[in-house]
Subunit: 157 residues, 2 copies
DNA sequence: TGTGAAAAACACGGCTC
DNA sequence: GAGCCGTGTTTTTCACA
């Protein structure tokens, strides 16, 4: 898989912003007509550049108004612990993001739940499933910005 | 706007997972035929439950392989500072998520950039635009989980 | 790679129950 | 509310430059 040219980047940028646009219109914006634009989109999907198309929803309106970031310190750095941990976070759908970190904090989780009671339940469930050395929870009061669109068109290549 | 019934929740769940499904198929899954299903989707969009449809992309393949979480402590809690801060984070597209937090850390940012050099540039740009009392950067080594689909179908109502 | 045009699938909206 | 069915778009495919 070679690097993306400018047109590919523009296409990706458009689709990350709004995936409802008809192919013809995207083509227009990037200076291509339907078919070649469509072929590029297919290729971008096959190459795994575009992974999926989803609807984004308002968490508050779905009853997921509480966001908590949880920092986790592992008791050891064995493959076994890691495996159990991966299994546990994948089994809990309220855990939206998981990052393995550099530094003291080993993992960082973003969790979305309805309220404190739901978080408490989840917290117990997680700590029951996996031995954890240290946990620090940080509560979000307000989501001020959220995007899934990487700024690909800002940069040249 | 009233609460969502079970069918609405199922529809939202499907669309958050995969927005390419034809309405007829979603209808089938939730036990509805085309038209009523379509009408519900329209209503969910009008109510702001479904906010948008986007393509998700692989950050690494777009040249955004480095994720950094940045904790920020504000020098004061004035409306003025807040305004300048909001303007600054909105002007920097590499800042993907911003949360106002409870506790010592006032704000938490998730930033996606190509490499350390790009982060350094961004860091200077941010700290030049806004006076900040304290900044702590946490570097992610690996993104182990990432989803935008809230687990709406797991819970009953 | 790009063009054009045709086929298949789909979204959308009127009308009925 | 839900379902049936027609119409206009859009996606998808194919033949050709």
């Amino acid at each position: 898989m070679e690097a993306l040219d400018l047109i590919d980047r523009k296409i990706v940028a458009e689709l990350m912003r709004d995936a409802t646009l008809p192919v013809a219109q995207i083509g227009e914006k990037v200076g291509l007509s339907q078919t070649p634009c469509w072929k590029r989109i297919q290729r971008l999907q096959e190459n795994g550049v575009l992974t999926s198309r989803v609807a984004l929803a308002d968490p508050a309106k779905l009853g997921f108004g509480l966001t908590i970031f949880v920092g986790i310190e592992a008791p050891d750095h064995s493959a076994e612990w890691r495996e159990v941990f991966v299994r546990a976070v994948n089994a809990i759908p309220e855990i939206m993001e998981v990052y393995r970190m550099a530094g003291e904090m080993d993992y960082l989780l973003r969790i979305a739940v309805a309220d404190m009671a739901a978080f408490d339940t989840l917290y117990k469930r997680l700590t029951d499933a996996v031995p954890i050395k240290n946990v620090t929870s940080h509560f979000a009061m307000e989501r001020m910005k959220f995007t899934t669109a990487y700024p690909v068109d800002t940069r040249n290549r």
